[in-house]
Amino acid sequence: MTELAVARPAPPRMSPKLALYDTAGVAKRNLLRIWRTPQMLIISAAQPAMLLVLFRYVLGGAIRVPGGKYVNYVVPAVFLEAVLIGGMTTSIGLAQDLKSGIIDRFRSLPMARSAVLAGRTLADLSRSITSLAIMVGLGFAVGFRFDNGVAPIIAGLVLVIVFGYACSWLYAAIGLATKDPETAQVAGILPFFILMFASNAIVPVSVMPGWLQSFARNQPLSVTVSAVRTLLEGGPAGHWVWQALAWSAGILVVFFAVALHLYRKSAS
């Protein structure tokens, strides 16, 4: 005679406190991985560094910007490039975890569903911040100068990090959707190119054809670059900052939901 097992007294339900505890565990795991692969950190900083040199010395001479030096125009954009490229490592890392089967283990454990994603994006943020710090140093080396008070400069750099963090959730969704590191890498370049080049990051929007201008003027990266430039270089920053924060919040909320949905459904 077989009797059905009666469920044991239920283990503690998932609470925000437990979710934070799980997230800290995942972040620790990913930080250890980042620490043990320093070459990845160098590679992810090398890309924006090359773009910086390219635009400062190869193409910059041919680009006219209204009222000022091109180096002060393009370096804030390179800061955003640095954190976007940092976000790309999130998509590649998640796709690798899916492929290796370790996500299966995570999903079979009683940990919070959001912890795997939040822990990863937070750990990857350390890589973006390191890369950003390197770009600030390099920017100085090639002639970039801040021209504002300490508080707005710090606010500008924080805004770069906030935007990068929001976009890392977009990249998390890309990694989970593609499920393959190589595909994730190629797919991740698309939003990067669209955001970076169809924008006011490298050249003023006024040189673009009319149909592109309205997109290029209002897309999230352009708005954020404008906000960062005014914070670092002076000028009325207010409405740019609010718009940039609204974009970051929107990207974060939407792609947090998309990534979490993809994670729940991910059956490698």
């Binding site: 059905l4 503690p12 454990l109 009683p110 059956a267």
Partner: protein, 327 residues
């Protein structure tokens, strides 16, 4: 009284047009090992993924440790451990870090998961390698670490998906001993395997599945009886005689003869005993077929498996071209 720790009722799962599971039923009792046996693509891994909440079933019901796999997925996960086909351990962490983090995610206390990680590293012969990065481990060490990770919180139900595939015989034997110890202490184990020897050694109950259905279940002994008891087996001296020998055996009984060209062997399920053996010997002599060996033996689980899965694939013969016992 026996308590059902895993209970599966009419579970179905589709992937597009493919029916991976077409209504599976099974029950595993507390402190027992249930072996899920079947060829590649039979649906074994799909069932394990459903029972460990990685996939939701399209139909039917399943409960593990009293929790429904869909409605109670969250508490269920605290009661199970999973070790997969591919060792899901982190290359860039040490063995100890891998175990301690899994313990953290089971919400064990820090002192507890540290102690457990230490014990498990000792138990699985990884004490010395415990503080080395996993990327320096051999395949067998990774597999042992993966299994250790599934045990860190002492869950009452364990799922092992082909736990010993690719392990050397000694490591495999160690692992079998360890699973026996766990089960003796009341843990319930569901394992999938392609090794008959493994199922025979460990399982209290064997469930054979093919193309998403249960085609037989019972103890190893029951399954052997089901395919017709003894086997009459002849090994021919000259491989060219094999088709004639197969025809001869087929004419003697009402079973289906099985040919194994590599071993130059034909076999036939039989209940005829020695009378049939003598009869066969006489006829081989009349037909002038030289034999190296002729005898009656008990069927192995391999025979059971081939006979069952051959019949289920619909062509009514276990004598598939090139089919060999799965080892």
């Amino acid at each position: 009284m026996d308590v059902a720790m895993i209970e599966v009722e009419q579970v179905e799962k589709r992937f597009g047009p493919t029916r991976a599971l077409a209504g599976v039923d099974l029950v595993a009792e507390r402190g027992k090992v249930l072996a899920l046996l079947g060829p590649n693509g039979a649906g074994k891994t799909t069932l394990v993924r459903i029972l460990t909440t990685l996939l939701e079933p399209d139909g039917g019901r399943a409960r593990v440790a009293g929790y429904d796999v869909v409605a109670d997925a969250e508490p269920l996960r605290s009661s199970i451990g999973l070790a997969g086909q591919y060792a899901a351990v982190d290359d860039l962490l040490t063995g100890r870090e891998n175990l301690e983090l899994v313990g953290l995610w089971y919400h064990l206390r820090k002192t507890e998961y540290r102690r457990r990680a230490h014990e498990l590293l000792e138990r699985f012969g990884l004490a010395e390698a415990g503080d080395r990065l996993v990327k320096t481990y051999s395949g067998g060490m990774r597999r042992r670490l993966d299994i250790a990770a599934s045990l860190i919180a002492r869950p009452p139900v364990l799922f092992f998906d082909e736990p010993t595939t690719g392990l050397d015989p000694r490591t495999r034997n160690d692992l079998w001993c360890f699973i026996e110890e766990l089960v003796a202490s009341g843990t319930t184990v569901l394992l999938t395997t392609q090794y008959m020897e493994e199922a025979e050694r460990l399982a209290h109950q064997i469930v054979v599945i093919d193309t998403g259905r249960v085609i037989a279940q019972g103890t190893a002994l029951q399954l052997k009886d089901e395919v017709g008891g003894d086997m009459l087996e002849a090994r021919v001296h000259d491989v060219a005689d094999l088709p004639r020998a197969a025809a001869l055996l087929a004419s003697l009984g009402n079973g289906i003869s099985h040919t194994d060209p590599d071993q130059q062997r034909v076999s036939l399920p039989t209940k005829g005993g020695t009378v049939l053996l003598i009869d066969a010997g006489r006829q081989f002599e009349e037909e002038d077929i030289a034999l190296d060996d002729l005898g009656i033996r008990r069927p192995s689980l391999d025979d059971v498996f081939l006979s069952l899965t051959g019949a289920a694939s619909g062509d009514g013969t276990a004598n598939l071209p090139g089919s060999k016992p799965m080892r």
